[in-house]
């Protein structure tokens, strides 16, 4: 692997300084599970200054505010999948992080790196989308907050500037009443790039009327997406079998609509419909009785 320069930083401030000082393009190295693979034989990083942020302690770990979980961008998927706060307040994210690659990958790969790499097949994206997660992004010491879904432009591309650093993933804490389901379809049980993920998050009142509903498909669209029209199909309703069938159909119809008809559509559209139905039946099992 050829690079122009390698700088290891221990603080976010040091990152900003290094980024400012860098001459030419910057590549941010977090867990390295994408950068080291991409750079293995080709010369893709030969002009880049590689800034290694993995040692920045402030970017590791999960803490909480009254309403939010704050996940450091360099927190590994394995750490998140076992984190007590995440398991309590956003268990769907713990599950999605646990579905990533293998234990070895999860021990290195970071959630911030996963987002910045912008692979449409990233396992965490559908979960973060239905959680309405936000990102804290710093440039030259100035922080801004953006919805997670807003940074992606197309597969493997974000609108982040090269001196932008994702520092924190802000995840609204979910009440214990929130129901969720996360399904991953892969070609094998581990070390598998998702063929598809389906993430669902919902809440009901005491009468079984849906008060909040988000459902999306990952590894299918060019970027993570939320669908207000799908949410509207159930909010305010006590869902019936027919509603479930309707939602699953509407969600799976998004595939040709958004991604166009591809070779994979023949597979993905019916599978999306099937697993969406299966997820919703499971989530509404008590209501449908």
């Amino acid at each position: 692997m050829k690079i122009r320069n390698y700088i290891q930083v221990k603080t976010v401030e040091a990152f900003h300084e290094a980024a400012k000082a860098a001459d030419g393009p910057i590549t941010i190295l977090a867990g390295g599970t994408d950068v080291l693979v991409n750079g293995r034989e080709d010369d893709v990083y030969k002009d880049c200054t590689v800034i290694d942020i993995f040692p920045v302690e402030a970017l590791h770990g999960v803490c909480e505010t009254e309403n939010m979980l704050l996940i450091g961008a360099c927190t590994t998927h394995e750490a998140i999948s076992h984190d007590p706060l995440v398991k309590q307040y956003a268990p769907i994210l713990a599950e999605a992080c646990g579905a990533v690659g293998s234990l070895q990958t999860r021990n290195r790969a970071t959630i911030g790196g996963n987002l910045a790499n912008a692979s449409p097949a990233a396992d965490t994206m559908s979960a973060l989308a239905v959680l309405h997660a936000e990102l804290v992004i710093e440039r030259d010491g100035e922080a801004r907050v953006e919805p997670m879904t807003a940074i992606f432009t197309k597969p493997y591309k974000t609108n982040l500037a090269q001196n932008d650093l994702i520092t924190t993933i802000r995840v609204p804490k979910q009440s214990p009443n929130v129901r969720y389901d996360y399904v991953k379809v892969g070609r094998r049980k581990v070390l598998s790039i998702s063929r598809m993920t389906v993430a669902t998050l919902l809440e009901m009142d005491n009468n079984g009327v849906v008060t909040r509903f988000d459902m999306t498909v990952g590894a299918t669209f060019p970027r993570p997406m939320l669908f207000p029209d799908i949410s509207a199909m159930l909010v305010g309703k006590r869902p019936s079998e027919q509603d479930i069938i309707g939602v699953a159909k509407a969600l799976s119809d998004k595939i040709p609509e958004i991604a166009g008809i591809r070779k994979s559509t023949i597979y993905k559209q019916p599978v999306c419909r099937n697993i969406s139905e299966r997820s919703l039946r499971k989530l509404f099992a008590d209501i449908l009785k």
Binding site: S102, R187, R188, V190, Y267, V271, R278
Partner: protein, 784 residues
């Protein structure tokens, strides 16, 4: 009284600790003073005339010591064991993307890699023939010696299959297709050549399983005497048949560089290069037809198969032989026609891979049999019970099976029992009728009989040799050129030497494989190491005992009578001597207790023209059973359990045999469900060149409950009673999973193409859903 024997015991592998502790030396571990690092430059075309290779720029790059092209090879330009049609360095033509047009040797690997990027060639494009169909229809010959691109054809004829199919009361006619499969040895090819400072001599180290073949090629191509080409294979990190021709081509290239530069030279392929250059398992298309009487008696079998040989002939004719003669299965059927045709294309060449043409045919045959059984109203086991071979039957190729225990029925029953096949078949068939059930369960079973060793297409040259020397300290030193490729062969060879000499195991020592010390032997291929190596060991032991007996006669007189070697003792008349004493006596009379043992498989009565007779000298019987869950919502297949029962003759080391079976089941699972090279039948390119895309089953995908079952019956046709297991251990596995998935889907024989991945299974699941909706609608109409 049964005397204690080393055979049948779980003796620890002699290489276990070295491998576990990391001291074993693999090809790429080798580092030598002054060694050059090499980089291959691959063709950018699948089929083209090679007009010029431009190396000038690369030669000027820092650290570059030598760049070689085809022009630098002083002798014959092509190699090949059976057909010499393969370039080690392309000269006038490139025939696939894995052809090498130049090799750079430099002081460091990085320098070699950089310089290799500066090499380019002028090509004149030729049409790319990316499938056997294209190649057969084309008037372009990939190899001018084979104008129709057909490089092998083998047939089997027994009875009159055409007439029998006309008379059959029930017939199934169908077709199947299989894909390229990668060996996926964990260690990519690595070869190091070291020149002698004294003479034109080269010593070659590295990951290879057929060193004597490679020695012949270097002799022919580099014009040095065979005695001055020494192969010392390193510890092999996986092979499965794959460390032959590709390793050989690389050995030729680095030997050329070593001889030209007088420096050691090493090439280690990256995974991408290994997958790009190496040969694969043959993709095969089958047309198959089976006829039966209403009572379930199988009366006729026709199987036509077309194999994709790829760019070079490699082992395609003998693979076609096994597809034709073993593809017809272990069934008692009077009328058989089987024909296998191998076709040259511009794809990766295809050759030896564990199973050698049979995992494909077993997949086709066993699924057709399940279809037929269903049509007859029989279960898979009922049909097989009725039609499998018994002692004294005549095999589908015409072999009278009266020379050993034909145990296939027993083998099938044990595999079936291990997964409770009959009960589950009934239960799952019933429960799968429930239209609401989205995860369906299924069981499948498949059988095989595998010829031991090469078979009649190698009549006359199937030989093994060994050199054994009893040392003065009464240790028994063995030099044998059959390579350890992970199966435990070396330990088994030592066990057989101990048995052959009637001594305790710790007297036996084994030299590292070295072609300058061990006499030339057929390679460690074709599941022949134990049987052929055993034959040679038994022969050498007989000779050694005669030499030792000679010493005894000199001391005790000519009338000592019969001498027995048992329990580490030597007994004759009233004497009971230790082995050490007997060795002392021999050396005392200046005798030389050293012997070369030779074993050649007897020539069998096979009529190639008629396609009838004895295609092999002996056979191993196998049955795999699989239980699966199939998710109709996603097309995902979950393998719940597999059982593999085998009769490989005498089980020499049960733990090794079980290891072979565990590995074989897993290899079959990968082939069946997920392994896919992403081959394009338009451009002949492979897109999945690394293990991120070429998916293998992980430890999480393989059931913990997989069960190996040993059902050995010592074979009177083998010196120590053992036959073959390496290939039998994997050949029925993919078929068993396919049968199980089809059963779960309620559509016997439905999956026509490997691998049956998410998409292919989903396609059938959708058909089921459509049918369910149609049925529901018509039921509603009826009700109305």
């Amino acid at each position: 009284m049964k005397r204690p024997s080393t055979l049948g015991k779980n003796i620890e592998r002699i290489d276990a600790w070295a491998k576990a502790e990391g001291t074993a030396q693999y090809g790429a571990d080798i580092r030598l003073n002054n060694m050059l690092f090499c980089k291959n430059v691959y063709s950018e075309r699948a089929h083209a005339k090679l007009l010029a290779v431009h190396i000038g720029e690369a030669e000027k790059m820092p650290g570059v010591v030598k760049v070689v092209t085809g022009k630098d090879i002083p002798g014959a330009k092509m190699f090949g064991e059976l057909f010499r049609d393969q370039y080690a360095l392309a000269c006038d033509r490139v025939r696939y993307f894995g052809d090498v047009i130049a090799v750079v040797a430099a002081e460091t690997q990085e320098q070699a890699n950089e310089a290799a990027k500066r090499i380019y060639a002028d090509y004149e494009d030729l049409p790319v023939l990316a499938s056997p169909k294209m190649a057969m229809e084309s008037d372009i010959a990939i190899n001018p010696e084979y104008p129709d691109n057909i490089c092998g054809e083998v047939h089997v004829n027994k009875g009159d299959s055409e007439a029998a199919l006309k008379e059959a009361e029930v017939i199934v006619k169908t077709n199947y297709k299989t894909h390229f499969v990668e060996h996926a040895y964990l260690e990519p090819e690595s070869v190091t050549a070291v020149p002698s400072p004294m003479r034109d001599e080269v010593t070659v180290y590295g990951s290879m399983q057929a060193p004597y073949n490679a020695r012949i090629s270097i002799h022919r191509m580099l014009n040095i005497p065979m005695s001055q080409i020494i192969f010392k294979p390193s510890t092999v990190g996986g092979s499965f048949g794959g460390k032959i021709e590709t390793a050989e081509a690389n050995a030729i290239r680095v030997s050329l560089i070593a001889l030209l530069t007088k420096r050691p030279a090493q090439v280690t392929l990256t995974r991408d290069e290994s997958i790009r250059e190496s040969y694969k398992r043959h993709p095969i298309e089958f047309d198959i037809e089976i006829g039966a009487k209403k009572d379930g008696t199988m009366t006729a079998l026709r199987m036509l198969s077309i194999l994709d040989a790829g760019a070079y002939i490699n082992m395609s004719p003998p693979v076609a032989y096994k597809t034709a003669v073993l593809g017809v299965g272990p069934y008692n059927v009077d009328n058989v026609h089987s024909c296998s045709t191998a076709v040259l294309t511009n794809n990766n060449h295809t050759g030896s891979m564990r199973g050698f043409g049979t995992p494909q045919s077993i997949f086709a045959l066993e699924n057709t049999i399940d279809t037929l059984a269903a049509k007859l109203g029989m279960t898979p086991t009922e049909f097989r019970r009725k039609n499998l071979l018994r002692n004294g039957d005549v095999s589908p190729c015409g072999h009278l099976m009266d020379f050993h225990e034909v145990s296939i029925v027993e083998v099938m029953e044990k595999a079936a029992e291990a997964i409770d096949f009959d009960r589950k078949f009934k239960q799952y068939k019933e429960e799968n009728k429930d239209p609401k059930r989205r995860v369906r369960r299924g069981v499948g079973i498949s059988t095989s009989m595998r010829g031991a060793s090469v078979g009649a297409d190698g009549n006359g040259f199937d030989v093994a040799r060994v050199l054994i020397e009893v040392m003065k300290d009464a240790s028994i030193h063995t030099n044998i050129g059959l390579v350890e490729i992970g199966q435990g062969l070396r330990t088994v060879q030592m066990m057989m030497v101990a048995e052959g000499m009637g001594v305790k195991l710790d007297r036996v020592t084994l030299g590292e494989t070295d072609t300058s010390r061990s006499p030339a032997t057929g390679a460690c291929i074709a599941s022949r190491g134990t049987m052929l190596g055993g034959g040679a060991i038994a022969d050498a032991c007989r000779s050694l005992k005669l030499i030792l007996n000679q010493g005894l006669s000199m001391k005790y007189g000519d009338d000592i009578g019969e001498v027995t070697y048992e329990d580490d003792r030597v007994r004759f008349g009233e004497y009971d001597l230790s082995f050490d004493e007997v060795v002392d006596i021999a050396y005392g009379y200046n005798l030389t207790p050293a012997a070369i043992g030779t074993y050649a498989i007897p020539i069998t009565d096979w009529d190639e023209e008629k396609g009838y007779g004895e295609p092999f000298y002996s056979y191993t019987y196998s049955c795999h059973a699989a239980e699966v869950e199939v998710d109709l919502d996603t097309g995902a297949v979950h393998v719940v359990k597999m059982a593999g029962c085998h009769d490989p003759g005498r089980i020499i080391n049960p733990q090794f045999a079980e290891g072979q079976i565990y590995g074989g089941l897993t290899m079959g699972q990968g082939m069946a469900l997920i392994e896919d090279l992403g081959h394009s039948d338009k451009t002949a390119a492979i897109s999945n060149l690394n293990f991120n895309n070429y998916l293998l089953p992980t430890a999480m995908d393989v059931p913990d409950t997989n069960e190996p079952i040993l059902n050995g019956h010592p074979d009177p046709r083998s010196a120590f009673g053992g036959r073959s297991l390496g290939e039998p251990a994997t050949e029925p596995a993919a078929a068993a999973i396919a049968c199980a998935v089809n059963m779960a889907l309620g559509k016997p024989g439905a999956i026509k193409e490997l691998p049956f991945n998410l998409e292919r299974v989903m396609e059938i699941a959708q058909e089921i859903d459509k049918q369910r909706d149609v049925d529901a609608a018509s039921a509603a109409v009826d009700k109305a």
